[in-house]
Subunit: 156 residues, 2 copies
């Protein structure tokens, strides 16, 4: 058994937290930490998964109330943020992160009102796990198409 | 978008609950429900993943305090239970379940003191997600090798 924990990372976007997660590997397959009911990260509402097929894009979306906690236990995704929050220190900024094992296995906490999107960049389906602090409510989220020109980011 | 929910299933093992989970599919990849903070299923302790490679076996294990909630968002696994609990109506019974999409996407709740194990039966790595009702504590679980002859089940 080998325990891997990647180096800490700091987001450029206000309110985004990036926390290294342990991967305990053995020859049968790895045990992969995600989130515990302790500390400031965690208020539990719902766990669900968003599969994203190779090359496909799920963007843009934001929640008005929900804080999300993302991890990618299988596959590789590119996650992008666009911050247009009026009073944010990072207003106007784009950030992209790659998430996936073994080098980029992190918990990423996404605050409300931040636009996000993601793309499958592996050769097989990827899984984005989300542990959210509230149960899904369709009315509290907004979406735009990934081609919307108001977003200063080109998905390839 | 197509929403799939499989038929209900009833476990032969006392205390095991099998709950159909929604799969909302589109051409980019599916959204897969797992667990919500509502109803009797849910007390939140920790979410983690156990990867299991094709053909590999992770068995046997039981917890003395933890109730676990399993789902398999990617891949296919065979899950087996062995009930040797003294006062259980299903004492002595083995049960096996296949978990995986699209036909066997279920939440399976596993009570304390029930032996369980699982095997990757897909051609690619499988992910067993576990939402447990407490944070991992090494002392409250026990393990036996999958070849242990006290268990009336042969892993292939």
């Amino acid at each position: 058994m080998v325990k891997i924990v990647n180096n800490p990372k700091i987001s450029k976007i206000e309110g985004v937290r990036i926390v290294p997660l342990a991967q305990i590997s053995d020859e049968r397959g790895s045990v992969l930490h995600m989130i515990r009911n302790e500390g400031p990260l965690c208020e539990f509402g719902e766990v669900y998964f968003s599969e994203v097929l190779p090359g496909k894009i799920k963007a843009w979306k934001r929640h008005k109330q929900m804080t999300q906690n993302f991890a990618v236990p299988l596959g590789q995704i590119k996650l992008a943020f666009y911050d247009d929050r009026e009073h944010s220190r990072s207003k106007g900024k784009i950030e992209t992160l790659v998430l996936g094992r073994p080098d980029n296995y992190y918990l990423v906490q996404v605050p409300p009102f931040l636009w996000y999107g993601f793309q499958g960049i592996g050769s097989t389906p990827s899984i984005l796990a989300n542990c959210a602090d509230m149960v899904h409510e369709p009315e509290e989220s907004e979406s735009h198409d990934y081609t919307n020109p108001d977003f200063p980011f080109l998905w390839k």
